[in-house]
Symmetry: D2
Subunit: 336 residues, 4 copies
């Protein structure tokens, strides 16, 4: 437990003041439970405004669960999800989509720096259906990606359009949607791109644990609360998952705090003597660092991890300070 | 969303000051995620002290999920859980045990006022194994029960002993363990009674959403975090689920607040002109009220529900005020 | 393994000559696998003719699996199946619907002698949807029923109509459809009654293991073979599951053999000195027999079981001989 | 459905005379159901003799289900199976292991010609456990492999030993064990190699549909029949799945017929003008053939498929005639 976790992940940070303020403000009086309260209604309205879309919104505790519940709603067990081979749903959730989806399959697509290659998607969509394989029923996208890159709105829409033309449904993992927005992603284009279910991350955006499940496809809404309840994702005290969204959306902190995190990542990349492997468009910096250097860095107390692509990952958050970036930059120079 | 939710459930209450204070205190600096932080370690230690047992402790978001993950750890899909026919796991979680347990069965046992009848358990344990039915692998108990009664320590131990002699594992749903403790239950007897997994409710005890999963049987610990992660119950910002336990256990508020809730229930029962159906030992009051009277009560703004046994349920919480109880008592008299 | 199994079940009988003849006739030359062969096509055509319906037909090995795959196709995990409390899917398949359906629930309906009481169905259909319970998505009927009774075509249609008006899908377990047909059920009314998936039992009708899955609702057909494959129910050598249907349908043995079984049951009922509890309309006889008498019967070598309703069950099959019925009848008189 | 299926698979063949003879011989009189009959007992005894091991044996309908039930018995949902990347369980069963195993993962290992590379296994075994990934709980081997090669007994034991030293359980898919035996595999070494569950293929060995599930690890036996029943794999008329094993094991046809298939494959390989990609040790021949040549071959009526590694596969069976091999050989020359 020792060491500095500033750059270990964007979930090592505390919650931002705006989130805490809203949470404590919501802690007043009795309210209906299971999402029937006014805080939840207000947060849902703010998200609809953000997306400029008439969508159903639910607030849940876990991004892993939110993604998996979404995929289970879009696919049947004998079908598969097309996702980037290094996406969180494919590699970092202990098979949760298969657990929530009763064995649904994941088909890995390639693409540089976490973005799905349109050609890889096209090839997957052309594969003939067979009773002996799990054929795709949904495309899962992540924005910002695992490698700190951001889809241009048009690039994302091109992928969703291709998938929808083949009859697939669309899931968008927005665990770092705030960072994508700070990098230029326009959330009002998501509905138009044909996304069926979007998960908006609150936790990594600087909230206490909270994720928003946004259902654009109204045909999926019937009994969705029963689906959530059975999945352990229908919080009784819903207000505590909704309130941080109220606080950070009403104040603009949702994007502002992410913009800070993105800026810290750019600053760190500029200081890094190690080669930066992926474009720094959001809040992560991935550097090429051999094992010996990594050990030296760990010895200086910086808890950072080697990632799937072999690079070492540094994540910035709303709470990352310029001073910490400079300290880390100096240490990186010292161990390089 | 309108009306008064004071007595609708014990999850309509806000979080107690001790929980909020600890949560905001924990909101400082960077910390390791996924339960490796010091707040989580401290909360786990407090729970071990409470139980006087060397158990593994995890903090999760959902009681439904905690119960279901526990049952899935104790049973295989072709086995069953013995539980009271009106228990929360059997009737109020949308089949979550079957979802997390991949079809595991629930076998309903009878018993007055939510407590399992030892004879009913004995009969179930005597049923021969068959390949054509789901034979029991675990006993699930609830304390305090759904009907606001509390098992005497010896009575609970008698049930667990009988079940263990037949090779069953034991799950204890302690969503309202605080209320049971305030009614005399000694938590230091739970380990000795042979409970394998205990879920301690924080949410209904007056915390922000938080439940503790306590694993007494160490053979279950291997890869339990992977089990939690796959189930969407390994919170990245674990501190926010652990902190409320720190706040309420360190101050004693965990039991003190529950004692208040229990006292409010007794006060309400004393005021009720409607027959109280079950002994008021914890924080719930169940009265015999016909549909017309129930409608009149709803018309006065009191949101309360008819329960499985046909009675109307009033739940008190840490936040219930004597004034509210008196107002409700007066209204009950007016509509009786 | 010793004793006489003539009346233990209708699956203790060998396969009828017509089934064996067709199976050996199909055992010629190479054929496409996984249902693409001509024997399968021919059997499917015969079943469509029998039902006078344009349905998709698949041949599978297991009735338990066929029923469960059907229910999983009609319901989602957080939904429930309405079925008679003593139906095979509810009580005698070790929770298979919950396993194949990932936790889907079973809601028990009452009704005399295995037939669902229309009032019980009406009550279940009126229950309001709730996120905290598994609300019904399908009605499962069994014809002939577990207790050897047969729904009149109009009675069955009344149940399906009521369920469909509430938006439910319909599953018909026809493990003993042959016996029902021999008792007057007209299979050409099944499609019109709105059944979505029908399972026609071959095994109990006197075939080598074989069941037909009949899909009336064409919207369910897409990727159904992938569903079957994933469930272990897409036989490579499909011809061996289709051939017995060819043999028994082409010759008329399917109904003729069942008529014999039904006649044997009536004969046995007439000889029984023990009170017959349910109308003998198909091939089962259920008698009221105390434990001591049951033991005396077992001591004479007759392997028969006590059933869910407390009666002792005698099943007749195509292979039951009049002589065996008379022997059993004499023994029943001797032990009465 | 048209064309010649002789080489499309080894499941396009009819059943061998020895299997049919035993099946019809078993079709006499009433017998206990669900595996309690004497035919099942006899077949189980023959398999124990074959393996020279005191194992539990069950007869089931489906190899896909048998493999998946086995893996579900060896792993928990948040764990993974190590298997060759092109193994049947990994690629050709529509995700059945994940369905029966509630989301259990498959981790692909590499190795030439279908045999797992010991170095690849060693690397996988060295990977540290993590709560964020599905760590391995079982190794799945296939003998003969998907590419018609056969593990030497010592090579297989080296893999199982390495896996067991890391605490893994072992599953052996013997869908083509007969072919492996005909190529020199000694089945009496399987128990000693530490295999926990073995599936012996009857279907591809020339039987009517039948597979044997062999459980060496006695700790897995408790309630295994309930597991099978819930999975739709506890046949009521068990005799029909056991009888073909009786017929083919008692006569020696099990290996003799496989030896013929293997010989036909060698003959075909010798005739092939196309490069044979993998050693022909069992009953499959994989040739390097471009799309145009493949089309010409299909146009001549030979139904053969392109396999995962890009080669075109020809499978021989007990029913493959030397004449057919010669015809195919001539056609291959004509289109080369």
């Amino acid at each position: 437990m020792t060491g500095r976790y500033d750059f270990a992940s964007d979930n090592t940070a505390p919650a931002a003041p705006e989130a805490i303020a809203a949470l404590t403000a919501a802690n007043q009086g009795f309210m209906a439970s299971y999402g029937e309260d006014e805080v939840t209604a207000r947060a849902a309205g703010l998200i609809r405004a953000l997306l400029n879309a008439d969508a159903e919104v639910r607030f849940v505790a876990s991004g892993t669960a939110a993604n998996s519940v979404a995929l289970a709603a879009l696919c049947r067990p004998f079908e598969a999800v097309l996702a980037h081979g290094h996406s969180h749903v494919a590699t970092d959730e202990t098979g949760a989509p298969g657990f929530f989806g009763h064995g649904l399959g994941m088909t890995a697509l390639e693409g540089a720096s976490g973005r799905i290659d349109p050609q890889a998607l096209a090839r997957a969509l052309k594969a003939p259906d067979s009773a002996h394989h799990q054929s795709p029923a949904a495309l899962s996208l992540t924005n910002a990606t695992e490698y700190g890159t951001v889809y241009a709105d048009a690039a994302l829409a091109a992928l969703t359009t291709a998938a929808r033309e083949s009859g697939l449904k669309i899931h968008l993992d927005g665990a770092r949607l705030a960072n994508a927005m700070a990098a230029g992603c326009d959330p009002r284009t998501i509905a138009g791109a044909g996304v069926d279910i979007l998960v908006i991350g609150g936790t990594k955006a600087g909230m206490t644990p909270a994720e928003a499940l946004v259902i654009f496809d109204k045909t999926l809404v019937r009994r969705f609360d029963a689906r959530l309840k059975q999945s352990g994702q229908l919080p009784s005290k819903s207000r505590f998952y909704a309130a941080p969204f109220v606080g950070m959306l009403e104040t603009g902190a949702f994007v502002d705090r992410a913009a800070h995190a993105n800026a810290m990542a750019r600053k760190l990349a500029a200081l890094s003597p190690f080669k930066v492997r992926h474009p720094v468009e959001a809040n992560g910096v991935f550097v090429e660092m051999d094992g010996a250097a990594h050990k030296r860095l760990l010895a200086r107390g910086w808890q950072v991890y080697r990632f799937l692509d072999g690079s070492v990952r540094f994540m910035c958050s709303w709470a990352t300070t310029a001073e910490a970036v400079e300290q880390l930059g100096a240490d990186l120079k010292a161990i390089a």
